[in-house]
Each structure stands twice: as structure tokens, then as C-alpha cells.
């Protein structure tokens, strides 16, 4: 962040309000795009920078002003760098996964002033995801601001781009083996200071990290869909997650403009454990013919002051995903309190889900 006098053009790097030369107000300028003009590779460790060698790049912005930036990666002279502009953009957030949650996290992290490195397995999928992010971001944002926010996001297909990240959020398929492989990879290449977080909604953090060297830096950060709107993040402590990492994860949640809660590594954490017992029970009620979809939703909205009824919510989440989560919960707890209702099983078996066929519980009921 630079501060420039509107009348004489002098610039400061400090948050001053009035120009000392002409007394005029000073404007803030956020600069994010630089070219590499020079560099030095530092071999001497110092108290504040004990890990060597590292590089300090001399970066030049479009106005010809310089700044320095430390990096562990080698860059070539002339490379374009999108960089943290000032105090408000202190962190680099890595995001893995181009699904609804991955895209949502990218959007939120970039909006709240962080540098984002967005990874997918292929150029094509990451490009497609960026198209959707662009569309979402452009709603209600001035072109100038949009440019700045988009400038914070870089895309990659390589894990190596994450070496300097402060926090990496994994948001891929809910498959234990896939997540394990990702965390093993991250653990081996990332700086020891990097916090690794999984956005899993149903898997155990302790299980995901059972084979890795530094499980203490792995934490669960469970976001809620739609991520840009939903304010909650459940911060999950794995068996070996350190208190410091837990604290930092909550600080990141705050930085993302979210509210966080602490919860132990158990199936469904807080929200899903309560939510899916309700959705499943609503399905049981429908199955038993106790009330229809509309009335169950209406009752919960008005009677319990919920903003959405259980079926509306199930349709929003995706009935296939709902069933998957309920089955996972059922397997994790003794007894049959999470036994999936037949109507939900049938609905999904017929290939229905809002995302796949566009059919919703509301229509399903009427066709039965």
C-alpha cells in the first residue's frame, strides 16, 4: 500500500493523511503487479531470517517504484510477480480443489486481501474454475477493485508453488486415500511454518495425517456452502494438532471475515452432526406420511426460526452428498440414530440430485 499526494505526487510507504509539503490529502494506492528487476541470493542466516539460502527480489511496479520481496523460489529477471501490497495482504493462501468449496475459499481469501495460489490437477479445470470465480466476484464489485482482487490469485498445477504459503486449504473429494496422498505431499515440500488445513466434512483429521511427519501442523477448517455468504468455520483439532496451529487457524478464519468455533475431531463435528440428524429425520417423517415437504419446511422455518427448511437445505447441499454424509455418520456412531431413510436412499438411487438432474425433493414428492 502506497500513499500518494494528489497534488504534488510525492509518495510515502506509511499511512499518512496529509502531505507535509502542500498540506493536501493523500490517497491510498494498492499496487500488486511487479516485474523482477534484480535479486540477491542470501547465504548468511540472521536472527529474523534463519533459513538460508533465500532470495530477495528487487521488484518494480508500473510507476517505476521499487520494493523488495523475500522468496525461497528462484525467479528470472523480467518475470511478472503479483505480490502482497501492504499490511492488509500479508498472507499467502494455497487452495487445492476446484469444486464449489475450493472456488468459494479462493473467492473469500482473495476478497479479504490475501495472496491466493489456486491449484488443480489440470490447466483446464483451474481455468474453468477461474471463469466462475470471475463471474461471482464481478457481482457488486467495481472494475478497479475486481482487478486488484483477481490480481491476488495465481493458478498452478504444481504443488511446488505452495512452498511459501502461510496456509494451505485442501478441498478435494471426500476420499481418505486421496487426502492422505495430498497431505503427505504437502508435508514433504512446504516450509515448516506452513499450516495445512483440510476442509473435510466427514473424515477424521487424525486418520488423514496418520502417516505424515508433522501432524501437529494439520488442522481441520470446515467451511459452509455458499462459502462467501456463510460466516461459520469449524476449526477441528486432530489428535496431534498443536495448540499454536489451532490458534492460528482461528486467526485465519477471522482474517477471512468468518466466525470460528473449536471442535474435536469427531464425525460430523458440530453442525453436520445436528443438521443431518434433522434432515434424515425429516425424510423419515416424509416416508411415514406424517406431513408433506412444504409443511415440514414451513414448520421448521416458522416454529424453530430456521432460515431454511430441512428439504430446501437438502436440495441446496445435494441429496447425494446428504446421503453420503448420513451414511458416514451412521458408520461412526453406535446405534441407529443416523440410519438413512429409505426415501432418501431411493431418491439418490434414481440418480436424483439437484446438481446432477436438477430435480428437487419438492418435485419428487409430487410425482410419487
Amino acid at each position: 500500500m502506497k500513499h500518494r499526494c494528489d497534488s504534488c505526487g510525492r509518495e510515502w510507504d506509511y499511512p499518512i493523511k496529509h502531505c507535509i509539503f502542500c498540506g493536501n490529502p493523500v490517497s491510498k494506492i494498492d499496487i500488486i503487479k511487479y516485474t523482477v528487476e534484480g535479486m540477491t541470493k542470501v547465504f548468511v542466516p540472521s536472527d529474523d531470517h534463519p533459513v538460508t539460502p533465500y532470495y530477495v527480489m528487487l521488484l518494480k511496479d508500473l510507476n517505476g517504484s521499487y520494493k523488495f520481496q523475500k522468496t525461497f523460489e528462484h525467479h528470472n529477471i523480467g518475470d511478472m510477480i503479483y505480490t502482497k501490497g501492504g499490511k492488509e495482504e500479508e498472507y499467502t493462501i494455497g487452495v487445492i480443489g476446484t469444486g464449489v468449496t475450493g472456488k468459494g475459499i479462493v473467492e473469500v481469501a482473495a476478497r479479504t486481501g490475501n495472496k491466493v495460489v489456486f491449484k488443480s490437477r489440470s490447466e483446464k479445470s483451474v481455468k474453468k474454475a477461474m471463469g466462475i470465480i470471475l463471474k461471482n466476484l464481478s457481482k457488486g464489485m467495481e472494475p478497479d477493485e475486481l482487478k486488484i482482487v483477481l490480481g491476488r490469485i495465481t493458478t498452478t498445477t504444481r504443488y511446488e508453488s505452495f512452498t511459501n504459503a502461510d496456509l494451505i486449504l485442501e478441498s478435494v473429494t471426500e476420499d481418505l486415500q486421496t487426502k492422505k496422498e495430498i497431505f503427505n505431499k504437502l508435508d514433504s515440500i512446504c516450509s515448516p511454518d506452513t499450516i495445512l488445513a483440510s476442509n473435510t466434512s466427514s473424515l477424521s483429521i487424525s486418520e488423514i495425517t496418520e502417516d505424515i511427519k508433522h501432524p501437529e501442523r494439520v488442522v481441520g477448517m470446515h467451511f459452509f456452502i455458499p462459502i462467501p455468504k456463510m460466516k461459520l468455520v469449524e476449526v477441528i483439532k486432530g489428535e496431534k494438532t498443536s495448540d499454536d496451529v489451532l490458534k492460528k487457524a482461528r486467526e485465519f478464519a477471522t482474517k477471512f471475515n468468518k466466525v470460528s468455533v473449536n471442535v474435536k475431531d469427531t464425525s460430523g463435528f458440530i453442525v453436520n452432526r445436528l443438521l443431518f440428524i434433522m434432515i434424515n429425520e425429516a425424510c423419515h417423517m416424509l416416508d411415514e406420511g406424517i406431513a408433506n415437504v412444504e409443511d415440514i419446511d414451513k414448520a421448521m422455518k416458522i416454529g424453530a426460526n430456521h432460515p431454511m427448511g430441512p428439504f430446501e437445505l437438502a436440495d441446496l447441499i445435494g441429496t447425494d452428498l446428504c446421503l453420503e454424509i448420513i451414511e458416514n455418520l451412521n458408520a461412526s456412531f453406535d446405534g441407529n440414530k443416523f440410519e438413512p431413510s429409505d426415501i432418501l436412499i431411493d431418491f439418490v438411487k434414481e440418480g436424483n440430485s439437484r446438481r446432477k438432474t436438477g430435480r428437487r425433493f419438492y418435485e419428487y414428492q409430487n410425482n410419487r
Binding site: 510507504d13 540477491t40 542470501v42 547465504f43 540472521s46 530477495v56 528487487l58 517505476g64 520494493k67
Partner: protein
């Protein structure tokens, strides 16, 4: 203003404490001058890092402890590596209330690990723009070298020649940090990398030491050396806040003003002490001081024009690279060397017929520049 006495400690790695170093230099300077401590009207003390290094501040009062019952007015000045130069300029610029002023600079660096020293020396740069990004002190000059070597027809081989010359001069200066060190190009070339493109021999050492001078508004004798020009100029603290990273604008401006005050030009200078904290700094200094055109500093070195037998000997005491760089003392030690030369008392490294000398002292990476021009009585 006349310099009536000089004194300094040996520079190097010592067990001696900061107050002891200060005391030794003051003692020697007063001993060298017809002015005694009771004739001194004020003291100016230059130091950079006693706060973070020794946990010692309130340094003007610390000096008072070394000069019991004098109750003199004493001030401490700090401008990173230019602290010494600033102190001399301070005396020069003071209202002429004080007739005789004792100026002393000292630094104690070797009582910490190099990691801590690297962190503390980095305090000469901007806390956020430089320090936070890992731009430790040698890295600042590495960036300057990087930019210079990209811009001009110069290579690291040229920088090595600066190191070689200054180490050779140091072997003729018994008080130098590297008095006993024989250095050749092979040793320079094979030394470990510090911050590319600078290796160990491109850098000045981390030295302890102190230097002092006694100045008077009144000429005391024929060995007095007159300060005929003294100028301080500044620039933004971080290199990233400048436009040209192959030159120090503050030094150009300070030189211009000092030449004007002294009524001399670069061609009139017989010897110079320039701030060679790194080899690249000496190249840049020669250009900033007008000894040659921009980009031609390397030519002076290649053509041997700045060695002891050259047209314009530079850093005859070994410079910061060979003599050592006890930060707060350096600017004053440069003055001491010019005085020795102008008096004709520099022994084996004496430059014949030196009449006008220049001292160029830089703080940080050019954020402060002090230029002094001195004239001998002979």
C-alpha cells in the same frame, strides 16, 4: 575548524568493552593534541548499535562517566555507518559557542553471534520494506552490485580488484583489522558467497574499535589540518524508495556542496577515504564524488589509478574492507587517516605531497552521506 589531534584503537575482534575502546581513542587523541581534556568545551559521540548490541543507551552520559567531574555538554549522534561523519559535521555546524570539541566514535560488535549481528546491522534499512523481507545489510549492497553489473560493462573481477587493493593497503597499517593478512586474487575469488554476487572478500569485516579527533575553532600549530568543507545530505532509507540503484544521490549532492564550500573540485583532491563497506560501494563512491564519469569507476581500478602509487590513492589505510568497520568509529577513522597523510606521518603508506584530502562516509545504503574536505598546513 582545525583538527588538532587524532587517536584510534586497533580495529579487530577484541574482548575489550565498549567504554574501554572509547576511552583509549579519546586518550590518544587528546594526547596528540595541544588541547587537554580540561580545555574541551563539548563532546560529540558517534555510535550505531550499543542499544541493541550491549543493551546500553544514554550514551552521552556513559561518556561523562569516562570523563569524571567534567560535567561537559555531551551529545550522541547516530546515522548508522555514517554516525562518525555526522559527528564531525555536527561540530562543524554548531554555533561557535564551543571553542574546542572532542569527537569520538566507537562500536562493539563482536560480543554476539553473527546471526544477531546480521539482524542488528540490518536496522540500517527500513524495518518493513527491507528487514522484514530479509534484505540484510550485505544484501542491500548485493542489490546495488547486481544492478551495477547489469547496467555497465563491469564484472565481479573488477570488484575483486578493489578488495585486493584495500587488503594490500591494510598490510601497511599496523592498526588495521587485516594488518597481518596476505590476500591474493585466488583467495578472494574462492571465498564463500555471502549475498550473490558478493562473496566474503567483497565485504568489510565486523570490527570492534574506536577513533577520536580534537577540533578547535582556533589554529593551534603547523600540524593542524583544516576542515574546509563538511556537508551532510540524506535520501530515503530503503533502496526500494529510490530510482537509480547504481548511485547514491545523497553522496553526489554532499560532494557538490562540500566542493563548493571548500572552493575546490574533484581534480584538486590528492587522497581520498571512501566508504567501501563493500567493494561495489567504492566503485559507486568514485563516480558519485566526480573522480570519473558514471560507469567508469571500474576503469580507475583496472588502471591502478587509485593504488598507493596511483594518480589518486583511495583508502590508503585499507578502507573499511582492510582497516575494518567498527561502524560508529569509521567516519572518524577516515578523518584520522587523512590527517596522518596531510601531516606526512603515514609511514610506509605515506602518499608524497598530499595537500588536500577527502573523506566520504555513507550511512546504510546511501540514506546518509557525509563528505569532508581537509587541507593540510604544509
Amino acid at each position: 575548524m582545525y583538527i588538532t589531534g587524532i587517536g584510534r584503537t586497533k580495529f579487530g575482534v577484541f574482548d575489550t568493552s565498549l567504554p574501554e575502546l572509547i576511552y583509549e581513542a579519546m586518550y590518544k587523541a587528546l594526547n596528540d593534541s595541544p588541547i587537554g581534556i580540561t580545555d574541551v568545551d563539548a563532546v560529540i559521540f558517534a555510535n550505531f548499535l550499543a542499544g541493541p548490541n550491549q543493551g546500553q543507551l544514554h550514551l552521552n552520559s556513559l561518556i561523562a562517566s569516562l570523563l569524571p567531574r567534567t560535567n561537559l555538554p555531551i551529545i550522541r549522534v547516530e546515522a548508522a555507518c555514517a554516525s562518525g561523519g555526522i559527528a564531525v559535521n555536527q561540530a562543524f555546524s554548531m554555533p561557535k559557542k564551543f571553542e574546542n570539541i572532542l569527537i569520538v566514535g566507537a562500536e562493539k560488535l563482536n560480543d554476539h553471534t553473527t546471526k544477531t549481528i546480521a539482524r542488528n546491522l540490518a536496522m540500517a534499512g527500513d524495518a518493513l520494506r527491507d528487514q522484514k523481507e530479509g534484505l540484510i545489510f550485505p544484501a542491500q549492497y548485493a542489490i546495488l552490485a547486481d544492478q551495477y553489473l547489469r547496467k555497465y560493462d563491469a564484472s565481479h573481477d573488477d570488484l575483486m580488484l578493489v578488495s585486493l587493493k584495500n587488503h594490500r593497503n591494510a598490510t601497511l597499517n599496523p592498526l588495521a583489522h587485516f594488518y597481518h593478512k596476505d590476500v591474493d586474487l585466488e583467495a578472494i575469488n574462492s571465498s564463500p558467497m555471502v549475498c550473490s554476487p558478493l562473496n566474503l572478500f567483497d565485504c568489510c569485516p565486523i570490527s570492534d574499535g574506536a577513533a577520536a579527533i580534537v577540533v578547535s575553532m582556533i589554529k593551534k600549530g603547523d600540524r593542524d589540518v583544516k576542515i574546509i568543507g563538511s556537508t551532510v545530505k540524506t535520501d530515503a532509507i530503503s533502496l526500494s524508495q529510490r530510482t537509480d540503484l547504481t548511485t547514491f544521490k545523497a553522496a553526489i549532492l554532499a560532494a557538490k556542496d562540500a566542493y563548493k564550500t571548500a572552493n575546490v573540485g574533484p581534480k584538486d583532491i590528492d587522497i581520498a577515504e571512501v566508504h567501501d563497506c563493500f567493494t561495489i560501494a567504492e566503485i559507486i563512491a568514485m563516480e558519485d564524488l566526480g573522480f570519473c564519469n558514471k560507469g567508469e569507476g571500474v576503469k580507475l581500478i583496472r588502471d591502478d589509478e587509485t593504488s598507493l602509487s596511483g594518480r589518486l590513492p583511495i583508502n590508503t589505510d585499507g578502507g573499511l574492507i582492510g582497516d575494518g568497520h567498527p561502524v560508529g568509529a569509521s567516519g572518524i577513522a577516515q578523518i584520522c587517516e587523512i590527517v596522518e597523510q596531510l601531516r606526512g606521518g603515514a609511514g610506509q603508506r605515506q602518499v608524497p605531497d598530499a595537500k588536500i584530502g577527502l573523506a566520504h562516509n555513507i550511512g546504510g545504503a546511501g540514506g546518509t552521506a557525509v563528505v569532508h574536505i581537509l587541507e593540510g598546513s604544509k
